[in-house]
Amino acid sequence: MATATKVMSASRPLEGLEAGRGRLREKLIVTSLFLCAALSILVTLGIVVALVEPSIEFFATISPWEFFTGTEWSPLFKNGEFGVLPLVAGTMVVTVIASFVCLPLGLFAAIYLSEYATQRTRGFVKPILEILAGVPTVVYGFFALTFVTPLLRENWLFETPPQVFNALSGGLVMGIMILPTVASIAEDAMFAVPQSLRAGAAALGATRYEVSTRVVVPAALSGIIAAFVLGISRAVGETMIVLIAVGGTPNLTWNPAKAMQTMTAFIGAAGLGDQSTGSIGYKTIFAVGMTLFLMTLVMNIISIRLVRKYREVYD
């Protein structure tokens, strides 16, 4: 008898309302779901605290002026130099090369998927691009070092061929790695452009090329710029490709055929060296990490804002 009542009441949807205990349970569940979401605040705070505290200690020893304007970088040596500019230059060179690949190719791929591809080819090409985004970065690094670099060295048209480690091959391969990210966000933005705009242009005699370049791209511009900014941010933050293919020698140069060290590669390499906690070498990781984090954060915020803008316009 008792069990029968239990079964009956469990199947009665109003149980929660009358008993009050169900309500409490529901509240507990929603609270725990909220805590899951709030964990992301904790993670963000954790990142900030992790970066800021050792960075402050670092800048108490090394003046910010020396750090941000110095042109020599050898922090892990005795009597080392702490000028971060060679790392910033390395990051910039690699990022510019990657951008030359991923921005035009990503935009074009997005235009292809959104304006040119038939439903069938789209359903086949898009997943393959997604797979390209799923390739682990060590694999890209290996490809850059053992395939692209030899290819460049053998077919070099200028005087001195690239070094075994060089910014060019790492940047090129990184551009391919980021291509799907740029393409996917740009395509989302193009997808949000109302069909009526395309139809209107076509009715006025515009060709597909004109519809794409004069209607769709301008209408989706904020989303496309968001895709570009996020792509560049990905390039600045990528570690394994540069660690493997671009090398570990800080080098203040704009010559992409030379070996360089980026900010991310320094952080990764410093981890290999097992710095003792609290040493200046250990704190350097955080000072460079902080610089990297701030650079990417600014870009990410710009990108998120821009995406929101086009969503507001068309959704």
């Binding site: 954790g46 390739v135 060590v138 291509l179 981890g271």
Partner: protein
């Protein structure tokens, strides 16, 4: 004013130059996709060709060694499996929970919900090495001071993939029409009953896709683990959460950075294994999404 014949000529000229431009543009946009695909194919073929001689049962059953003839990836495979298990029991339930809260319960007019929304989007774009810094400062050293053990690595990767899980799961939940929940509510279900018994089951394929992609991301990540100090010479399988470990991508990195060509061959062979796993997972995710995609 142009005469009628002139304007016809002009029109035909415009037509021809337009057609040329149209064709060139079509070729350019198609070509950019082809470039991406070509690199993917080249990358797969190159690792197959280079790693083929080393690919065999020995590779999988042997442990890392200073001699490349004997070097294998058994401990790396087990390390990776452990990491996946940790990510699976932490990041995925928490991520799905957060997604359910954000999509189903959060009032977007309340300031802290908007803050969480922006923060999740930001976290998704934070470079992976920065998560390594987080793990280094709090888990491997500092307050908790666990050292470079499995738990440290697994939790660091969990933080890394958490935003990926949340964002993709939210999308899956959003694609379930609100009429489903409304129907449940109209029949007297509480909001949680409606969400847990109607909306969540309908979103399962999307959430599964999100989880698989997150796991695949965790399998391929090397940078944060390197920074934690996980690059070690490990010739045993992990025995528990506080065990030292190596993982596939770190083992590959280790072999790439050695000068001997033999280790590069071993790296290529291990890459075939790693690529096989991640591409299989990605393909499964895509298949799942397509197979169970519902148009409501």
């Amino acid at each position: 004013m142009s005469t009628p014949t002139e304007s016809v000529l002009l029109a035909s000229h415009r037509k021809r130059s337009l057609r040329v431009r149209d064709g060139a543009f079509r070729a350019a946009v198609t070509g950019s996709v082809v470039v991406g695909l070509a690199v993917l194919v080249a990358l797969i073929i190159q690792s197959l060709v280079k790693g083929w001689p080393k690919l065999g049962l020995d590779l999988i059953t042997n442990f890392p060694s200073s001699f490349y003839e004997k070097a294998g990836i058994q401990s790396a495979i087990f390390g990776t499996l452990w990491l996946v298990a940790i990510v699976f029991v932490t990041a995925i339930p928490i991520g799905v929970g957060a997604a359910v809260y954000m999509e189903m319960f959060a009032d977007t007019n309340v300031w802290y919900n908007r803050v969480i929304d922006v923060i999740i989007q930001n976290l998704a774009a934070v470079p992976s090495i920065v998560y390594g810094i987080l793990g280094l400062a709090f888990l491997a050293r500092g307050f908790i001071d666990l050292g470079p053990v499995l738990l440290t690595g697994g939790l660091t990767l969990s933080f890394l993939v958490l935003p990926v899980v949340i964002i993709a799961s939210r999308e899956a939940l959003r694609s379930v029409p609100s009429s489903i929940l409304d129907g449940a509510l109209a029949l007297g279900a509480t909001r949680w009953q409606g969400v847990s018994r109607q909306v969540l089951p309908a979103a399962i394929p999307g959430i599964a896709t999100a989880s698989i992609l997150a796991v695949s991301r965790a399998i391929g990540e090397a940078a944060p683990l390197l920074l934690l100090g996980a690059l070690q010479f490990i010739t045993f399988n992990p025995t528990g959460l506080n065990s030292s470990f190596t993982a596939l991508p770190i083992q590959i990195f280790n072999w790439i950075s050695r000068p001997q060509e033999g280790f590069h061959v071993a790296a290529a062979a291990a890459i075939i294994v790693l690529l096989g796993i991640t591409l299989l997972l990605n393909a499964t995710a895509i298949w799942l999404r397509r197979r169970f995609q519902q148009t409501w």
